[in-house]
């Protein structure tokens, strides 16, 4: 679920067009999986981020099992990762609650 101010209005007015997944990119034209082809000048990748803490020693990084309540390292509880979660709602208050776990 995501929220935006004018996105739905823009879609309703036809200013934003919705397409399925990209099948192939060639030159400036993009082929979609429904068979349609369209030319574009710019591509904005809103595909998210990867979590990266390169400066932390690998033993202290978040494990594949996750963190305790999204905050504490399961084996070393003195390493806390604050806001390494994606809450739905306020981030600031979630940060404070996460710190209070420490």
């Amino acid at each position: 679920m995501t929220d935006s101010k004018d996105f739905l209005n823009a879609v309703a007015l036809g200013r934003i067009e919705l397409k399925p997944t990209i099948k192939e990119v060639s030159g400036s034209s993009v082929h979609f999986t429904d068979g349609s082809v369209k030319d574009f000048d710019a591509v904005v990748l809103a595909t998210g981020f990867r979590r990266a803490v390169p400066f932390i020693h690998p033993t202290l990084r978040p494990t594949h099992r996750g963190l305790y309540k999204g905050t504490l390292h399961p084996r070393r509880p003195r390493v806390a990762y604050v806001l390494f979660v994606m809450p739905f709602g306020s981030h600031f208050q979630v940060a404070e609650l996460q710190v209070s776990l420490f």
Partner: protein, 425 residues
């Protein structure tokens, strides 16, 4: 701001803003109810209706008024935690500056504590000066720990600093996803004249005023980049911190300098040469607050994306709709909210905007929740009013007559409204 330490206040959940808002709306619409009754009911019973309406309206609004008064009186803001906790007699260690060299006695103390899991945490390193880092720093200081915040760049604010492009991940017309009444720190509310959804400049100002209010400035070290963080055998953590310091003597530092701001030998201009110094500091605990929006995730399963002739930017690099003026823009994905926000932002100037989505998601309007709550409040007040009205009517007219099953009822008697307890059949 200096109050006594209250651990309950730190974890105390704030009053839900909707509770406050609900009460306000309850009072407002409850006091409007008399007008509703006056308009709807016939004028023949004006006096009776007026008394009823006043009574019902007040009865409906009373609980809301009482609750609002109580909330107002007890100051329903988040409880502000103590800015700093003063050291007390029961503290395991006296406070000390974590950057000060460790004396031999303390070294022995550390050795005694080696391997002890219950050794208390007294020094904390907070890495990252964004919103999470500031919240962490304040809470750590409020709990009586020696916390130091390391920020890589020369100012706090993290990704909200639009004016420093190397770390900003917001665009010009960005709005927070959550209202300012929700997205805020405890005990520090944004000003009332700010808009409901804050942009990047207000958010940055909010974070900086947060630092000023809670006096965190002396605990923030700007320009310190944490290069590595390893665990020591004593149970602590050792951080390699790289600082850029200005070296005054140019002759001495010409060999070591890596980043000369001015070219050496400019004549009268004093040469400012900076030098990067790496120091090692030890802490009992580490809070990583660098956030999860550090490395852009570029999908590698799009066939031929590298052969695209136009510009390919990540959503964190998008800054201004004017960059995409009169362009045909394709937005891939919607992200948490960034894809849809960027699409709606770019479509004001772009020639056409297309959004390619793989997984369909629910989209809601930002202001929808407020509209929804208005209707829910009105509905709740109507239901309450109907109930109270029915009770009052029963009190005035007497109990509604109950007819035995199968009896013949005279419509004339019931129409005129008999106050006698026994119905005339």
């Amino acid at each position: 701001m200096k109050t006594s330490f209250n651990p309950a206040a730190l974890s105390d959940a704030p009053w839900h803003p909707y509770a406050v808002w609900w009460c306000r709306m309850g009072v407002r619409y409850g006091l409007l109810l008399p007008l509703f009754f006056l308009g709807v009911l016939p004028l023949a019973r004006f006096a009776v209706t007026f008394v009823y309406a006043m009574f019902v309206g007040l009865a409906c609004a009373m609980p809301f008024m009482a609750m609002l008064a109580w909330l107002t009186w007890r100051e329903f803001d988040h409880p502000a935690p103590a800015t700093r906790r003063e050291p007390r007699a029961g503290d395991p260690y006296p406070r000390r500056d974590p950057s000060a060299p460790v004396s031999e006695d303390e070294e022995d103390e550390y050795d005694d504590l080696a391997g002890d899991d219950a050794s208390p945490v007294r020094t904390v390193a907070v890495i990252g000066g964004g919103a999470a880092g500031l919240a962490t720093l304040r809470q750590m200081l409020a709990h009586g720990m020696d916390a130091v915040l390391f920020e890589r760049t020369d100012n706090i604010g993290g990704l909200w600093d639009y004016n420093s492009p190397e770390r900003s991940k917001v665009f010009r017309n960005v709005l927070q996803n959550v209202t300012k009444t929700h997205n805020r720190f405890a005990g520090h509310r944004p000003p009332k004249h700010w808009p409901i959804y804050l942009g990047h400049e207000h958010t940055l100002e909010y974070l900086r005023s947060f630092v000023d209010t809670f006096e965190l400035k002396d605990r923030i070290r700007l320009g310190c980049e944490v290069l590595s963080c390893v665990e020591t055998e004593r149970g602590g953590f050792e951080l390699a911190i790289e600082t850029e310091t200005v070296v005054d003597s140019p002759k001495k530092s010409t060999k070591k300098s890596k980043r000369p701001h001015n070219k050496p030998g400019d004549g009268d201009v004093p040469v400012l040469v900076t030098e990067k110094v790496t120091r090692y500091e030890r802490f009992d605990a580490v809070c990583v607050c660098t956030g999860q929006l550090t490395a852009p995730s570029i999908p590698d399963d799009i066939v031929g994306l590298h052969t695209f002739e136009g510009a390919v930017v990540h959503s964190s690099e998008y800054r201004d709709p004017r960059d995409l003026a009169e362009a045909r823009v394709l937005v891939v994905g919607t992200g948490a909210a960034s894809g849809s926000d960027i699409a709606q932002d770019a479509c004001s100037l772009a020639q056409s905007v297309t959004v390619s989505v793989r997984t369909h998601r629910w989209m809601i309007h930002r202001g929808l929740t407020q509209v929804k709550f208005i209707f829910i409040t009105i509905w709740a007040i109507r239901v309450t009013a109907c109930f109270v009205c029915r009770v009052l009517r029963a009190c005035w007219r007497g109990r509604a007559p109950r007819y035995p099953r199968g009896s013949v009822r005279c419509s004339r008697c019931t129409r005129t409204g008999s106050r006698s307890s026994s119905p005339r059949v």
